[in-house]
Amino acid sequence: MSIFAQLLEFIGDPAHWSGPRGIPVRIFEHVWYTALSLGIAALIALPVGLLIGHTGKGAFLAISIGNAARSFPSLGVLTLLVLAVGLGLTPVLVALVVLGIPPIVAATYEGIRGVSPATVDAARGMGMTEFDVLRRVELPIALPLVISGLRSSALQIVSTATIAAFVALGGLGRFLIDGLGVRNYAEMVTGAVLVALLAIAVDLVFALFSRIVVSDGLTGRAPAPSADTDLAPATTH
């Protein structure tokens, strides 16, 4: 039987759609681990990235730590933590947060560093405080890169959250691990396809989010100012 027929048979079975082991519950668990880890990673990484981007201090150290963290295998971090503190959500979250921080710090830092010094000087010249410069000038200009950092962080977390199932938690990894345990290839493929679809969905959500929050003046979607347009409201024309 072809892989697609097996997949359709497994997904088509109503028994796989209900109860605590059903597909909706597993998707919800997976999204929950991902959202929680991404939220914590962003809470730590965004301020760090903004600070080192704005001040230019500590960048080398932060990027080096980030690169080292990138070479940490998540499965190793997870199993080590489980042996240290026992089964539960905490080891999974820590492993996923460690994975999620470096892309956000690196992208935020690069985004802020990329803001033209002339623009920052102009903002200071207008009397903005350092915090205002960061919040109202640097951050909006850096936003496309900041979001792309969040996006690659989210993609890595959503892919890797499958390892939660290895330490007796839920999520879509359950189908992979349980399917392997009983040599049920259809179940494994179902889990794999669902994780892939979820990753593509996350990717689309971030693309949409970027379109909504990034200023039209940065993306070229706003009409370019020309010599005969002044700053008066459009209604006066």
């Binding site: 070479s71 295998p73 199993t79 992979l176 994780v195 892939a196 990717d203």
Partner: protein, 216 residues
């Protein structure tokens, strides 16, 4: 830590390390071999560039573990065959490297291309001797990223029984035994660091002008 366990299992650990290196590095080489012609085509025919970027983005967003499992169903290999990991990671490496290759070739200034033509470089020799060397810093930045990423991604394969050093994690976890996990972590991080340094070294050898420019 049980040092005697390490001593007794040196041979096994060495095999896992070699297998890990093989699973991580072979796909980078194959991926580069794929990415060079594709990136080159996308630069020669600019209309191919946006769809190429979109395809590589989608391919890269598919989780590696999912690909390890779906591939055998598509190409008919055994599910526990390491070739699945090699092919899956080759797809990732290729998808990730086409962009640096294309961006690197696009960074070649027009006047350089015209000068090369003017002093008699014919087409392919110009690509190999002039354009590719100028693109190398982009390509190497991509190679460093994808190699480190691959080395940590291979471990995840241990969940389905093929993961090189990752098997030390699953083994240690199942036996509630910390030593193999620590050994696996240390070797995995060391492998990433060494591989990264080797790539930097190769880049230095291949682009001697970069150093000359900096010191003058």
């Amino acid at each position: 830590m049980r040092w005697d366990w390490i001593q007794n299992n040196l041979e096994n650990i060495g095999e896992l390390l070699a297998f890990h290196l093989y699973l991580a590095v072979v796909p980078v080489v194959l991926g580069l071999a794929l990415a060079l012609p594709i990136g080159f085509l996308a630069v020669r025919w600019p209309r191919l560039y946006p769809p190429m970027l979109a395809t590589s983005g989608v391919l890269f967003s598919i989780p590696s573990l999912a690909l390890f499992i779906i591939l055998p169903g598509i190409i008919g290999t055994q599910i526990l065959d390491p070739i699945n990991i090699v092919i899956a990671l080759t797809i990732y490496a290729g998808a990730l490297l086409v962009r640096p290759v294309a961006d690197g070739l696009r960074s070649v200034p027009d006047h350089v291309r015209q000068s090369a033509t003017a002093i008699g470089y014919e087409r392919w020799r110009q690509v190999l001797k002039v354009e590719l060397p100028i693109a190398l810093p982009f390509v190497f930045a991509g190679l460093r990223f994808v190699t480190v990423a691959n080395i940590s991604m291979v471990s995840v394969g241990a969940l389905i029984g093929i993961g090189g050093l990752g098997e030390l994690f699953t083994d240690g976890f199942q036996r509630n035994f910390v030593t193999p996990i620590v050994v696996g972590m240390v070797l995995s991080v060391a492998l990433a660091l060494i591989a990264d340094s080797v790539i930097v070294l190769i880049q230095r050898v291949l682009t001697p002008w970069a150093r000359a420019g900096r010191s003058s």
